[in-house]
Structures are given as structure tokens and as C-alpha cells.
Symmetry: C2
């Protein structure tokens, strides 16, 4: 297996990094790790993860990829230390952050932009820390990889192999801005909406009566507003411009429904409830991850506009499920097409 030739360095053995390190090691990938405290090291070593004393040591091991799984607040310090020690000819830098533009800016500021490919695995739960780390967190996970026009195909391929062969996961490839707008749409903006909902209740003079009547729909729609508000705020601040645009769009949609209700405009109400039907139909279709999904080969020209070709594939709802042996052929399945 090609990944047996690969060495991956993990920075940060929290929930996301620890789970990834354990998964890679269990799948036969040479995995080394550094954590800001060494309490997970004994267990990690038993799991086949080689733990090192410093970021300098991690970089000096010249892994094929270093995956930044540290908190965003630690990013400038971590990048400064790596910048002094990394061999950019040997190592490609990637990360697991949920907002890509800001991480790329920080990587650029550290002078490491040329060896960076962004990554965001759709994996996580309410827990945190090494004690919650579990390789199965990445079962059937989809990653978004972010590239830009000057990303080399070689570096992209290193991170792609890490995800497809190393972690055994799927991926889509987009640019930073497309990623951050999509993440704002399905996560960051909805978090703000959920927070506005609990504010609406907290402000109501009959809030105790409303709380008494609250049932499943309220519980589901406000669950994310109950998690650490500081974390939610940081997430929204990191993707502020996209969230701002989407919140204004949502405000316009809600106002339009209010107007339709005031005017008794049945046609406008019909349009409002019809508009999202493609998403209802998509969710009602049988799960796309069964054997019936057709697989096709997507041939890439590393000398051409391969970034645009992969973005086009993602826009079509295709997920890359593996490499077809040849390093320029991706196996893709249509998994998320509305």
C-alpha cells in the first residue's frame, strides 16, 4: 500500500489530531506526533505513534506531511517554530481548521505558504482532548481540500494520499473562498440563527411559558446555541464576511415571509415552501454511500488547470474516493448532488 511509504507528523493530540494519529497508525502509516503537553505520549506510543519532544524534532524528522491539529490561537507560535525547522523540499504542510482563508493568511505570514495545502475533515463531536480521541471518528469522513492557483500538483497529491490512502476517507477539492462560503452556509450562519432563536425566547416576557411548551423542533433548532458561546463567536468572527452576507440574505427571506403572511399572499407562501424542495428531494433519496453509486475515473492534467477541474467536479456533487493507481486519475462518485 502506497501509504506505507509515507510519514505523517501530527501537531496536537486533541480530539481531531489524536483521532487522526491513531487512525493513521492503525492503518500502517508511519505517524509521529507532538503535543504541547506530554500526558498522551505513553498511550500514543502504545498505539504505534512515535512522540517527539519538540516541534523542531517533528520538522527535523522530515515527514511527507505535517498536519496542524493545534487550536487556532496557537497557530502563530506553532508556525513560527516550524518555519525555523521545516524542510520545505521534503514536507508539505496541511491542517484541519474549519475556516481556510484565515489559516492560509497565517501560513503565508510565517513564510510557509508555498508548502501549504488546506484541509478540513468533516469529523468531530461534542467532546475534546486525547481522552476522547478515537480512530472511528473518521469513519466514512469527507474532507475538503483547499488549493490555489500556485499550489503544485505534487503537494496536493501528498495531502490527497494522506486522506484517501492514509485515512481511508473521501474528499472534495475547492478554493479557500468557496470552502469558507459553504461552511458559513451550513454551519457558521446557522449557529448565529440558533443563537438569535434563544435570544428571542430569553427576551420574551412569557419565556417561561414558551420554555414549558418547547418540544423537539425547538430542541433541535437551538442545540448548537447551547454549546460554548465563545467558541461559536470565534468561529463566526473567523468567517465574518461570509456570515454577514448570509445573515442579511436570511433576514430578507424572513421579512419576505412576514410580508406574505401580512398580505395573505398565498402565491408567495407557495413559492417559499417550494423553493427548498430540491434539498428535501436530495435528503429523501436513498443514502448515496451504497454500492449502487456509479464510480467514474477523472483524469487530471497536472500541467493544466487541474484546480479548476477538481472544483468543477466538487460543484457537480462528486466526491473523490480514491486514486486509480495512476497518480493523475481520481476515482469519483456523485454523492451530494441536489
Amino acid at each position: 500500500m502506497v501509504t506505507h511509504d509515507m510519514t505523517v507528523g501530527i501537531v496536537g493530540l486533541g480530539l481531531i489530531g489524536g483521532s487522526l494519529a491513531r487512525r493513521l497508525a492503525s492503518r500502517g502509516v508511519r505517524t509521529i506526533a507532538w503535543n504541547h503537553r506530554d500526558h498522551p505520549y505513553a498511550q500514543a506510543e502504545r498505539d504505534g505513534i512515535r512522540c517527539v519532544a519538540s516541534l523542531h524534532d517533528l520538522a527535523q524528522a522530515r515527514p511527507d506531511a505535517i498536519v496542524l491539529c493545534n487550536p487556532l490561537v496557537a497557530m502563530p507560535t506553532v508556525l513560527a517554530q516550524l518555519a525555523d525547522a521545516i524542510d520545505p523540499t521534503a514536507t508539505t504542510l496541511t491542517d484541519v481548521g474549519s475556516v481556510k482563508g484565515m489559516v492560509r493568511d497565517q501560513v503565508d505570514a510565517a513564510g510557509l505558504g508555498a508548502c501549504y495545502v488546506g484541509a478540513h475533515p468533516m469529523a468531530g463531536n461534542e467532546r475534546s482532548g486525547w481522552s476522547a480521541a478515537d480512530p472511528s471518528l473518521y469513519d466514512d469522513a469527507l474532507w475538503a481540500l483547499t488549493v490555489r492557483d500556485d499550489t503544485t500538483y505534487e503537494r496536493f497529491l501528498t495531502v490527497a494520499r494522506l486522506i484517501l490512502d492514509g485515512a481511508g476517507n473521501r474528499m472534495i477539492v475547492v478554493d479557500d473562498d468557496t470552502h469558507d462560503r459553504a461552511a458559513a452556509l451550513i454551519s457558521h450562519m446557522p449557529h448565529a440563527v440558533a443563537t438569535a432563536l434563544i435570544n428571542e425566547l430569553a427576551d420574551d416576557p412569557d419565556r417561561n411559558i414558551a420554555a414549558a411548551l418547547a418540544a423537539g423542533s425547538w430542541r433541535d433548532m437551538t442545540r448548537v446555541a447551547l454549546t460554548d458561546p465563545d467558541r461559536t463567536r470565534a468561529m463566526i468572527d473567523e468567517d465574518a464576511a461570509n456570515v454577514e452576507t448570509l445573515l442579511r440574505s436570511m433576514a430578507g427571506r424572513l421579512t419576505a415571509v412576514a410580508d406574505a403572511l401580512r398580505d395573505g399572499d398565498a402565491d408567495a407562501m407557495t413559492r417559499f415552501f417550494a423553493q427548498g424542495q430540491p434539498f428535501r428531494d436530495y435528503k429523501a433519496r436513498p443514502a448515496a454511500n451504497d454500492a449502487a453509486v456509479e464510480t467514474r475515473d477523472l483524469r487530471i492534467d497536472p500541467a493544466g488547470e487541474w484546480q479548476a477541474a477538481l472544483l468543477e467536479s466538487a460543484r457537480a456533487g462528486e466526491h473523490i474516493i480514491g486514486l486509480a493507481g495512476d497518480r493523475t486519475v481520481m476515482r469519483v462518485q456523485t454523492r451530494s448532488a441536489l
Copy 2:
């Protein structure tokens, strides 16, 4: 047990009515029922529910209470047939609808307003019909009872006994408008917001990428938008004025956050995330239904403004958990106080 002296008539043996009929019968309440089709009758009779051939027969049995569990669209027809047969001196009329103002208008229109007390049990699931009926649907359920200034204490007490002693449930007592505003806040308006969210995705040129990245927060916040849009639309239309007001308020909140993000207004963001803290704290407290909740007696003056006293209790987050033997003393517990 006082409810053994009570006869309850159920109109409609669907999920909500069938479950209630089975629960009442299993708890020793004389229960009679009518359904627009007689397919559930054999099973219902085995469950101890006496089934009758017509609404006329149901009314002529002079039950203490008749509970309208029929669909809202059938309400005018059902009420017209009951109006001809009911003995208002013997029977109090109630229902299980999720919007109270509209039902009361229909009951008034049928000339039955004087014998009506509104009711709305917080019970239900995604299923429907007699085949899904289950007495445990009402386990630990809370009901909202709605009264107005001319509701007699006697009629109120009949429905209160049906809920507290008959179904073994809890209740709060409010007026129609307070109920319908609270229901709009925690259910009807959020359903419109969830629909607007899926519209936002369906309209996005990168909708397939967004759908690929969608995870738990998106799934939870849009779940109710996937259920039958016609049913959601009907629910919103029935409570249109309250939903309209709340949607405008939500649009204002979302616009304010967008402005704060544009302006980098950290204070406004801090206020936004602090505003709902009372609800987060309320949800983080240990479940209120344990034995530690203090019980107090609330003495009612049936000749005084008892409606206002009960509304005040509901506003304080108190739930009525039983009658204290005396017909004018309610046992209450503080269960939903932010």
C-alpha cells in the same frame, strides 16, 4: 380515584386521540370514542374503549368531556354535528389542537363557545393514525389549557381532572393569545426559519459543495424543514399574525449581527452571545422532574380572578401536577423558570 366517576368522549382515533383514549381506558376512565372510519373499533374495544357509530351517539352518551382529536379541516363538520346533539349542561368540550385562537373561533361559530375549554398536549411524534397510537405517548406530558374570562371554574375543573387525574399529566393554564404567541415562538416561527435555511442552500450556486460539508448542526437545524411542507404551511397560516411578528423580530436580530460583523463591533457581538445565557443556564440545570423539585399548594378562588392567578403561576414557570383533594387547591412545581 375521582376519575372513575368520569366519562370521556374522544372524537378521532388517530395518533393523538387514539393514544389518549387508550391511556384513559388503561387508567380506569370510562372512555367512549368515535372515528370517521370504524377500522380501529375492534382493537379499541379490546382496549376497553367503547366505540359508537356516530357523533350523535357520542354526544347522547352525555360524557363529562368530549375531546376533539379530529383534524382541523374536519372541525366545522364535527362541531356542526355535535352542536345538534350535545347537552351543554352535562358535557364540556375540549380539543388537542396546537393553535388555540382558531379553534375557539370555530367553536364559537358553532354556538358551543360557552362549554369549551381549550387544551394542547405536548405529545406527538413523526407517525400518525391508530396503528401508531400508544398510551406512553403521554408519559410525563405537559398540557396547556386555555381559558378566557367567561370560562366557568366548573368547566375548567372538568378538563383539569381529565388531564391531571385521567391522563396523569401536568398542565399550565393560559389564555388563547398567550398560548398561540408562545407556540409561534418555540415551534411555528422556527419551522419557517428552518425552511428559509434550506431555501438558502437550494439557491446557492455551490449548493452541492455546501451539501457535502453539511454535518450535525445543519441536520438538526433543518430537520423540521424536511417534513411535509403543506402541514408546516397550514400550521404557520393558522398562527399567521404571531409568526409574522416573530419573523420580523428575528430578521432584525440577524441584521443587527450582520451590522456588528461589518463594523467589527465587539461589544455588540458580546451582547448578542450573552443575551440568551438565561436559556443556556436553564437547560444546563439538572432535569427539573426529579424528586428535589419543591411542591407547593396554590389556592384558587373560583369566584375571583382565578384565570389571572393561574396565568401568573404559568408565567412563573410553575406546572400544575395535581389537585390537592380540595377542588380549589392545585399542587404546583416550578419546572420551566429561566
